[in-house]
Each structure stands twice: as C-alpha cells, then as structure tokens.
Assembly symmetry: none
Homo-oligomer: 232 residues x 2
DNA sequence: TGGCTTTGCCACAACTTTGCCTCAATCTCT
DNA sequence: AGAGATTGAGGCAAAGTTGTGGCAAAGCCA
C-alpha cells in the first residue's frame, strides 16, 4: 500500500486530508511542522509527500529542499492562491504537481493518483535492438559497440540497424542499398563497399581484419555474431 | 437523467435552484434539513448533492461526512462569503466544488456540469513536466530552465513541451511540425530550424554550442538530457 | 599457377543538410 | 487602426555526407 506523508500545520486540514486519503486506500502519516516532517520522513520514508508551503517556523520550501537533497520522492505542493512566487519556487525545486487552497480533497486524490500513475509508468520502453555486441536505440538514434557510444551518419546508422536486425544473413549490395535508401534506384554498387568500410572503421576493433562485417564473396556482406554470445 | 439532491433550509433557495436545475435537464430532489437530507439520500441515492453548510440543527459538515461514509457521490458545497477562513477550507476538503452565497443559479449549473464532466473525464494529464533541467507548467504555460523563468512564444512553448515530453527521442522536422501545429500540412521545413534556433537562444547557456537541442544530422532534432548511457 | 572475377580502398568532387540572416505576412494587443 | 510581437519564406554560406572511378589486392576455379 502506498504511503503518503501529509505536512500541514492546520489540524483541520490534516484530519480531513488524512481521512479522505485513507478512505481512498492510502496509508497516511501526518506532520504539523517542518522538523516533524523531516523526522517522520527519515523514520518512515513515504511514497509521496503532500506539503503545505505555509508552515510556521521552517518554511515549506526549506522542507522541500531538504527532502529533495536526499530523495526523489514525488512532492505535491499546497499553495495559497495569492502566493504565486511560492508556486514558482516550488516547481523549480522539483515539485511534481501542486494544488491551490482552497482545494477539494477529491481533487487532491486525483492528483495523487495521477502522480503515482506517472511515476509507475515505465520510462517508456526504448526500442532497442542488438547483435554482435552492438546495441542500438532506434528512437534516440544512439548506438554502442561494447558499451562505447558510436558516432554514425544517418545512412551508416540505418545500414547498421538493418544488419543488426537481420544478423548473420547475407545480403547483396543491391539489397542493402534498397533497405537503406528505400527505393533501390540502382546506384553504383561500389558505394556499399564504402559504407561497409566506414562502418568497419568505426565499429571493428581491427578494421583490417573484420570479425563482424563479414564479406560473403560473390554475394555481398553479412553481420556475423560468430563466437559471440548475445544477452537476451 | 442525472439526479441531484439540493439541501438548503431556505425555501426560496430550494424553489429557485430546483426550478433552474430542472429546466437545465436534471431530476431534482430537495431537503430542508440534515436528517431529511440523509433520509432522502438513502431512499433515492442521487448522482450529485448540493449542500448548504449553514443548516439548522445538524451541521452541514456532519451531513457531508455521513454521506461520505457510505458514498463517493460528488458534493458541491454552498458557503457564506463571511466564513472564508481555515474552517471553510476544512469544510471544502470533503467536497468536489463550492459556490459562495449569494450565487446565481446559472453559476451553480455551470459547476454542476463541470463536476459531472470531471467525474466522467479520463485520467488527469500531467500539468507539470520536466526534463534536461527544463520545467514546465502546462496549465499556466510557465517554463523555467535551471530555475530561470523563460519568456516563450506560444509556438515555442508547445514545441518545447513536446520535446520535453519525449526527451531524447529524435524527430524529423515534419514530425515536429505536426506535433506543434496539429496537422502537418507540409509547411516549409526550414521553419523548424528557426524555432529551434530561437529556443536555443532562449534556453541554452551557450546557444552556439547547444547541449540540449541536439541536431541529429540527416534526421532532425532531439532534446538530449544528459550523457547517454547504453540501455541495460 | 594463370586467368578471370570480386573486393578494398582512396581522395575528392558533388551533393545534401543545416545555421542563420533578413524580410514580409500575419497575428495580437491596445 | 496602429504598434509591436510572432512566424514563415527564401536564400546563401558553411558544414557534413556520400558516390565515384580506377587501381591494387585478394579470392576462386580449373
């Protein structure tokens, strides 16, 4: 069950928010002051903090800052309508959302759920492919060999991606041209040689004796994973 | 048809509100006191409750609490202007919205519709997003880089928001155009260059050597967060 | 091994893409 | 309507990429 820490100096607010959020299925802890909040935060780290910026004594922003120093826990700030500056400062500090007083507990619940939903949604599974020690993120258009970032041109990247996606299969130069340039208007096939050469230079440890970009005499090229185990 | 229960001790208000809401297409029941409201609530559970806090005998907050004990039905509170203090805030915490006396029936209707709309709407979209040291409040259309408030045009803001929401992913100019302008009626792609340039000028510390708005040669642009690591 | 085919390679020219300037059209306020 | 801001277009220079063509080297087969 998700734990929420509610920090507010008003007993009424604490009581009502706690009641509402508990009925909504969360485990709620409360704190009435900054120091109390930090103590509770360390003793029982919550999954989310609802923080009133208008605390007596220690400023709510200080509390937020202190929490951020040690944790990435989501924070929802509560601000008064009039204190625009606090909202801005709070957001700069890395608050994840805010509600403005007076707010309805129902709205708070909705925002709490939204923050959790966002936090739980995976970091958007990257479209990553790999073979022969090469790894490519097609969306970012980043690529690595044995952990080292590569610097490829657009065409090189596309050619490599194609080979990685069809590792160990041999292609003719025309096929490679078509795969990379869409329509294979029969360009001079020797161009492929150049691209393979450039790829070898950039990704092979010893470009002069290629282990990955293998020439298939009389056919073309293939990306070989020979003698290489690929992690699933 | 949506059923609304109106709780108010003033016969005039009951009559007026009932008449207006019925003409607006709702089925309306009324109650003049707390106990009456609860009886009616159990006998004919409504889809929404409009509740005056100033009831004789049982306090309006008590009624709200009793309703909440058994139901999540939306509640709109009616409060007097004079009692706008922390207590009012507390009272409002259990409600979905509130109107302040004196209120127009038209305003009440608007709030009723808004509450219904909210209840039926899909999960809340985030209104605070961030990436690469950039933070944006989509609702207020404020944005910051490293704590500094930005002054962006509408289009710049939308473009930046899109990039922040899809950080690290490379997009073609056409994709960016479409994301920002809705339909990508193939406008001149070079316009994107201009916008990227303007964004660089406004948010990069050294616009001449951009670290965030990265050109992906042969593809387009991407918003890069930090040093890229190989995905697991 | 000899004769034929295929590949590697090079430097550079041709080409593509981007950065950015300016200006005009459009939009937004007052 | 007018002033000011915003946005798109065209164009040019700079930066970066890719194809070319020929020759040397290597592979294949009888």
């Amino acid at each position: 069950m998700k734990r929420i820490l509610v920090v507010d100096d008003d007993p009424w607010v604490r009581k009502l928010v706690r009641g509402y959020l508990e009925r909504a299925g969360f485990a709620v802890a409360v704190a009435a002051s900054g120091p109390e909040a930090l103590t509770e935060f360390i003793a029982h780290p919550p999954d989310l903090v609802v923080l009133d910026l208008m605390l007596p004594g220690m400023d709510g922003l200080d509390v937020a800052r202190r929490i951020r120093d040690s944790s990435r826990v989501p924070i929802i700030m509560v601000t008064a309508r009039s204190t625009e500056d606090d909202r801005v400062l709070g957001l700069e500090l890395g608050a994840d959302d805010y509600v403005i007083k007076p707010f309805s507990a129902r709205e708070l619940e909705a925002r709490v759920r939204a923050v959790f939903r966002r936090a739980e949604s995976k970091p958007m599974a990257p479209r990553v492919i790999g073979a022969a020690g090469i790894r490519m993120d097609l969306e970012r258009r980043d690529s690595w060999v044995d952990g080292k970032l590569l610097d490829l041109t657009a065409l090189e990247f596309d050619l490599l991606a194609f080979l990685v996606q069809h590792a160990n299969r041999a292609f003719t130069r025309l096929e490679l041209l078509e795969a990379v340039r869409g329509t294979s208007y029969s360009s001079f096939e020797r161009a492929v040689d150049s691209h393979i050469k450039r790829l070898r230079k950039k990704v092979e440890p010893f470009p002069e004796s290629p282990s990955r970009f293998v020439t298939v005499y009389g056919v073309g090229y293939k990306l070989s994973t020979e003698g290489r185990r690929e992690p699933a």
